[in-house]
């Protein structure tokens, strides 16, 4: 079993999705606890994230591993449910680029990495009005609202969304993190965000810390 787990872990580095599927099914057939498998893989993901932060690995490594994780998690989660247990998601994140902003690459990276870390992510895409964000936060009972703005012209939209959360009386229910090229830590503090990060891996870390999980 240990060898199989190590082989599965290695697929996070070799990006061999078919091999990952094959091994994870074999592991399940052999009766291994799927929760333990997820925890085992999560340690590898954390290691990959740490190595990325030290510039030893690069985005294709990080995103490739995240992609493999995303692919095999549903199989493992389905097994957890079959056992009558709850899938322990880290939390639900509503994610999107603010109104007037059509840049998506940073947001897309955050999406992949949050999912790989075990968050349930609702990606609203680009050019979202405040009402879009508010509706999604309510509909999905989000733990975190993550907004991106590349342009300084659109940065203030984040402020508007936070003000709308207040006026809707749900600000206390959701943590807000902001990022994107136009956003600085000072700006994030000024508009009342709970967290700011300039990088996608950092955003995933902040999300984890905010939910203290």
């Amino acid at each position: 079993m240990e060898e199989l787990l190590n082989d599965l872990r290695n697929t996070l580095s070799t990006y061999d999705k078919n091999e990952a599927f094959r091994i994870v099914r074999l592991i399940i057939e052999k009766g291994k606890d799927p929760i333990e498998v997820i925890n085992f893989l999560t340690t590898k993901m954390v290691d990959i994230g740490n190595r990325f932060a030290k510039y030893e690995l690069f985005l294709p490594d990080l995103v490739g591993a995240g992609d493999i994780m995303q692919s095999i998690l549903p199989i493992l989660e389905s097994e957890i449910k079959k056992k009558g247990l709850e899938v322990n998601k880290l939390g639900t994140v509503v994610l999107g680029t603010v109104q007037g902003d059509i840049h998506s690459i940073g947001k897309d990276l955050v999406n992949i990495l949050l999912k790989a870390e075990g968050f349930n992510v609702i990606d609203l895409g680009v050019d979202n009005s405040a009402s879009n964000f508010i509706k999604a936060v309510k509909d999905y009972n989000a733990d975190i609202l993550a907004m991106s703005a590349l342009l300084t012209t659109t940065a203030n939209e984040q402020k508007k969304v936070i003000e709308s959360l207040v006026s809707e009386g749900i600000r206390h229910k959701v943590k807000v993190i902001v990022g994107g090229g136009a956003i600085t830590e000072d700006f994030a503090v000024k508009i009342g965000a709970d967290g700011y990060e300039s990088t996608a891996p950092g955003a995933a870390k902040i999300a984890r810390n905010l939910l203290k999980k």
Binding site: Y55, F58, L59, P60, G100, I102, H103, S104, I105, G106, L109, V126, D127, L151, T152, T153, A155, N156, G181, A182, T184, T199, A200
Partner: protein, 485 residues
């Protein structure tokens, strides 16, 4: 007489074979025909539909037949005039002429306090920056902003105020970003001043044009002002990681913009822009001025020359450096010279430091030297009986023959050399004696000289200035109504 720019006197550098070009072209046509492009604009979709494109209105997807694309590429002019407020500074875009354009930054780099972090500019600093770009002789087209606004104005007004500042403090041709309805006010100001304004129509990679960008296309075409179409894909992120693949994607996006412009206004002047960069795999940001950008743009420039449509290289002005340091110099110098050799019609260079993030007038002053050197190089070597100087060589003979006192030397030396405005070109002893000055010291000196002595050659009349102010007031009301102030 328009601004001369620099005219390349020799064949451009070609890095693709004819087969390579054909392969990329065919693949681009395939993308436009099979994959198609999202055009989030009903009026444009109708236009494409009437032009034999396959239009999926639900998905806003347009698939263009090869014949249409080929036809519209031929319809776009290979050369055109771009009006400046001072008609002597008009640009004749196309052919072998290379012009330089300003590169913007969201913020000023704080050179004054030597932190190199971001800071905002006061209104005076901003207007001074425009004055400097108006003076720099190798900057031919005013670029966007050049800093994103100044203290005391709301964000939504920053581009519009910048356009106004450039019309007020410069008589050169004016280009700026068109998003957030700024194109509307830029066009209005230009029409008031009987000149032109130009803006880019930006694709959002991959293969998507959002509504506002198409609004800009219609507005520029209807005003009959020159337009630019631009792709800004990050290869490895929003485009294929390979240079060839990202060129295909980039070309498909830019061509879609060209086709649309020609359908709106047949013969519409358009310049294409390559503003793509590889994705920086350490940070997720664009990898500015990476040599892969130079390869991408060199290949792209060669293809656009084949299409006969003017092309701009937009990466030279963006480096990964955060300071005006060695890295900043080598990245800018290498990229600018490569593009000039490859035949780009515009090179965006002056002022930018890191990405589109920081900029400074001192950078623009130093860049003007880079542009001058690059321009001098592409003007090549003049070979005729006078420059060969055979008679003079015979006259002077062997040592102790001397050329410095000859009329030929006086006549030609300034034409043959490039005389730097800000480089340290002293010998060692003089360098010590003059206080070991660097290029930044000389740039500061030039900046002061410009600001002490220069004002725009054709100032706006009081009436014109008031008209511009009225448009600014109108813009404020416009944004207030949109709840953006």
């Amino acid at each position: 007489m328009p601004l001369k720019g620099f005219v390349r006197k020799f064949k451009p550098l070609e890095i693709l074979s004819d087969e390579d070009i054909e392969s990329i072209h065919k693949s681009t046509l395939d993308v436009l025909k099979e994959t198609g492009v999202i055009i989030d604009h009903k009026k444009a979709l109708d236009l494409f539909k009437r032009s034999d494109c396959i239009v999926d209105y639900d998905k806003k997807r347009v698939r263009m037949p090869e014949a249409l694309v080929e036809c519209e590429l031929k319809r776009a002019p290979s050369s055109y005039r771009m009006k400046a407020r001072n008609r002597a500074k008009d640009l004749i875009v196309g052919g072998n002429t290379v012009y330089f354009k300003g590169a913007p930054g969201f913020y000023a780099a704080d050179i004054e306090n030597n932190t190199w972090e971001t800071r905002s500019f006061t209104r005076k600093e901003y207007y001074d920056y425009v004055t400097i770009t108006d003076v720099l002789e190798n900057l031919h087209l005013q670029g966007p902003y050049p800093i994103f606004g100044f203290d005391g104005i709301p964000d939504c007004m920053k581009i519009v105020e910048g356009i106004a500042a450039k019309f007020r403090n410069s008589s050169k041709a004016n280009y700026d970003a068109g998003g957030f309805d700024t194109y509307f006010f830029g066009i209005k100001m230009a029409q008031t001043l009987n000149t032109e304004f130009s803006a880019p129509i930006c694709a959002s990679s991959p293969l998507t044009f959002y509504k506002e960008q198409i609004d800009i296309a219609f507005a520029l075409a209807e005003a009959k002002f020159p337009a630019f179409t631009i792709s800004g894909c990050s290869y490895g992120g929003s485009g294929p990681v390979t240079i060839a693949g990202s060129i295909v994607l980039d070309n498909a996006e830019v061509i879609a913009g060209v086709v649309l412009l020609q359908l709106i206004n047949p013969g519409q002047p358009v310049c294409t822009i390559d503003q793509t960069n590889p994705l920086n795999m350490k940070t997720g940001s664009p990898n500015f001025d990476n040599i892969a950008s130079a390869l991408h743009m060199a290949a792209g420039t060669q293809i656009w020359r084949k299409y006969g449509i003017p092309h701009m290289f937009a990466a030279a002005g963006y480096t990964n450096a955060k300071k005006l340091d060695i890295q900043c110099g080598y990245e800018r110098g290498i990229n600018a010279i490569i593009q000039a050799l490859c035949g780009a019609n515009f090179i965006m260079l002056h002022g930018g430091i890191y990405g589109e993030y920081t900029a400074h007038p001192l950078a623009a002053i130093i860049d003007d030297d880079i542009a001058g050197m690059v321009g001098r190089f592409i003007e090549g070597v003049e070979v005729n009986s006078e420059t060969i100087a055979l008679e003079l060589i015979e006259e002077v003979g062997p040592a102790p023959g001397f050329y410095l006192n000859k009329e030929h030397t006086r006549k030609w030396w300034e034409k043959e050399q490039y005389i730097s405005k800000v480089a340290d070109d002293l010998n060692y002893q003089l360098w010590v004696k003059e206080g070991k000055k660097t290029t930044i010291d000389y740039a500061k000196k030039r900046m002061k000289e410009i600001l002490d002595n220069h004002c725009v050659d054709i100032p706006l009349t009081q009436e014109q200035d008031e008209e511009i102010e009225k448009i600014l007031v109108e813009a404020r009301k416009w944004y207030e109504n949109k709840d953006l102030m």
